[in-house]
């Protein structure tokens, strides 16, 4: 019995590692400057966004979560820090970016997303 419990525990640990760190969720591609990212319930929706390289693009954020954690949006590699108003769209203009991955998150890194520039 204990062997089974221990194996289940180890399987659970493996699952955590795979689900949170190894799994690559699908990405959303930005089209026509139209993408709206909803900030709500601890997440950015969508959180993984594919963008074209070397051209300026804009992202629209709509914060629906009143918690102050979601208030600030940071894109450290681009030196962007913006306050997101509640229940209002905010457009963030991004400069042309070279290929690579750029994380965006709230101040405490609880809300997390990633821009993949290709």
């Amino acid at each position: 019995m204990m062997i089974l419990i221990n194996l289940a525990g180890l399987a659970l640990i493996a699952l955590i590692v795979w689900w949170f760190w190894l799994y690559q969720p699908p990405q959303t591609t930005l089209a026509n400057d139209e993408l709206l990212i909803i900030v709500e319930n601890g997440t950015y929706q969508p959180a993984r966004i594919r963008l074209p390289a070397n051209q300026p693009v804009s992202l629209n954020f709509l914060r629906k979560d009143a918690s102050p954690c979601s208030e600030v949006l940071l894109i450290p590699d681009l030196h962007i820090s913006e306050t997101l108003p509640l229940n209002k769209r905010k457009r963030i203009d991004l400069p042309p970016m070279s290929k690579g991955e750029y994380a965006f998150h709230c101040q405490m890194q609880m809300y997390r997303g990633q821009l993949t520039v290709e």
Binding site: L12, I16, T43, Q45, A66, V72, L86, M108, Q109
Partner: protein, 761 residues
Amino acid sequence: MATETTDSAASTRSPDKHLPRQELLVEGASCASCVKKIETALQHVPGVTKAEMNLAQRTVSIEGSADAGALIQAVEQAGYGAKVQQAESESDALAEKEQADWAYYKRLMREMTIALGLGIPLMIYSLVVGEMTVTTTSERIVWLIVGLLTLAVMVFSGRHFYVGAWQSFKNHSANMDTLIALGTGTAWIYSMVVVLAPDVMPGMARHVYFEATAMIIGLINLGLALELKARGKTSEAVKRLIGLQPKTARIIRDGYETDIPISQVELHDLVRVRPGEKVPVDGEVTDGHTSIDESMLTGEPMPVEKGEGDEVVAGTINKTGSIVFKATRVGKDTALAQIIDMVKRAQNSKPPIGRLADVISAYFVPIIMIIAIVSALAWLNFGPEPVVAFAMVSATTVLIIACPCALGLATPMSVMVGVGKAAEAGVLIRNGEALQTSSRITAMILDKTGTITLGSPKVTDIVTAAAMDETRTLQLAASLESGSEHPLAQAIVESANERGIDLLAMSQFNAIAGHGVEAIVDGQQLLFGNEKLMQERSITLGSFIDKAQHLAADAKTPMYLAVNGTLAGIIAVADPIKEDSIAAIKRLQRSGIRVVMLTGDNRATAKAVAEKAGITEFFAEVLPEDKSKKVQELQMLGEVVGMTGDGINDAPALAIADVGFAIGTGTDVAIESADITLMRGSLHGLADAIAISKATLRNIKQNLLGAFFYNVAGVPFAAGVLYPFFGLLLSPVIAGAAMAFSSLTVVTNANRLRLFKAQEH
């Protein structure tokens, strides 16, 4: 760069072309063809010269004199909805944010009351009767009711944790909600299993933990509410800046004075400000004379005299006279709006010291989940009976006590307060990195002119050769220097003007950088500059070298005038040291910083000025293009170098320094030119900037240390590492309280920075 879309109403006008412009918010447009249709419909409205739609923002910008009603009608006829919109003012946005925060605070307090309303009686009961066990059928019924009440608490007061956890889980991410949801959920499910199917649990493990679930939800909501309150205080500096902006302006149009909202003030409008009123937008005085209190922006306590042609800045207070000024910057272009924007950006940016915490935060929650599983397995394998209960309690406690928020908040909260505090002292910090580096500065290079000195030199001595008189010497030098923009040249021209000397025509002007100038005046070849220039051109200086040295030793800058290859005289100029430079330099030196003066002046003058200012090290005769080399020289010696200059001539040196400080005079600041802008002309601003950055970094370190220690010590304790030695195992309720208050402690410690006061002695 970012823009906001709002739903409020009014119209604005183009600031640059003076063509009326209106913004409409369009509803129902979703494709590129809608854009074309709406734009065409609007362009057909009489009076419209241009209509451009932004599909992403759902806004359309219309130029021309058309009536808003006609525009809305045109959009509606095209099959869409529209309303007028206006750029939101900072104070409106702030008021809205405060309202939203207040509503959120009330919600959290309500949820907390409900949760603790159930949790506290249950906890008291558990303290009175000891362990809450389920043995009889009647006990099962009572506990089932309590379990359902706890479920109601979870739904009403803890819903946001569970929804957040689930949403994050679906997104392959985990956050604080995940930990709270897992911890409280585990305790509740375990208890319900005990109530509904007690037989699956060993007898000793038939305990219920409903009080833990309710208490944890209540305490964490309380912690969040208190944290929200404390956070409000961290942004007080920005609130104060926003509050400086008046809501209306009195403008003069067509000979009439009317009060209008400041959002409607246009470029070139004439604005009247009466004594005691705030200046509404930036502008240039066209009529009247007054003194203006700029202390709220610059930290400079003395009011500044303003007359025709002088610049006035939004947010400052008119003290004595009534003035009329022409608006030169309105809306988001005013210095105040830019300062607010810069402070807000800097407050949200992170210094490098926060990066480790960020890396840890990114992996933190899944790691805690793994530790909780390992802890449960350890109890199940090696723990005493009842192992199931111990395993569940330890896993829940580990999940609940871990607080990624304290780690995440440690840096940003202190930066928020520190940057705000600096802004109050007239110090604008560009970002977190500049803040951190300035706390580590070991050497500070101060440009002499305009930084240590007033930057407004005056002619003090004229020594002439036998064939010349003072007036003629000054006339020739001033005529020659009228082509130069150098501050010393301006001093000479001003001196000639004061004495009523007419300037002569000048031709073939040539500036020899860092040395002097030459030109032909009145048919004579003139050469005016330093000793090096004279030696290069083989001018015999004779006994004048001694005279020049004597002047230089008195902190004056002597310049030689040669006419047709023969020395005609010396004109000495002195630039007085600012009143408080000496005290401020002492402050820097006391804080262990090596202060070095840099100047293009000759060695003797530089030495005399440095001595007067209390500086032992100086670089003299430095050409403008070599200033950055001097910065590098100190960097090569391992110093972390700060460079302070006016931000115009020193731009390359400011850029190459570890931290560049641009020292402004009044509100005419070169905000873009440096890492840190000192709005006050005084060097005390520099000492304040360094003192604040040191205090902020100290505060960040305290926060990080506290958050690290809390998690590093708290998690093993919760897992039960002390149990084998001391029989100690933490209760999940205590863990919940500790977690809730750990973030609050961080925010409260950051708020202590608000009490920081720089000492000007």
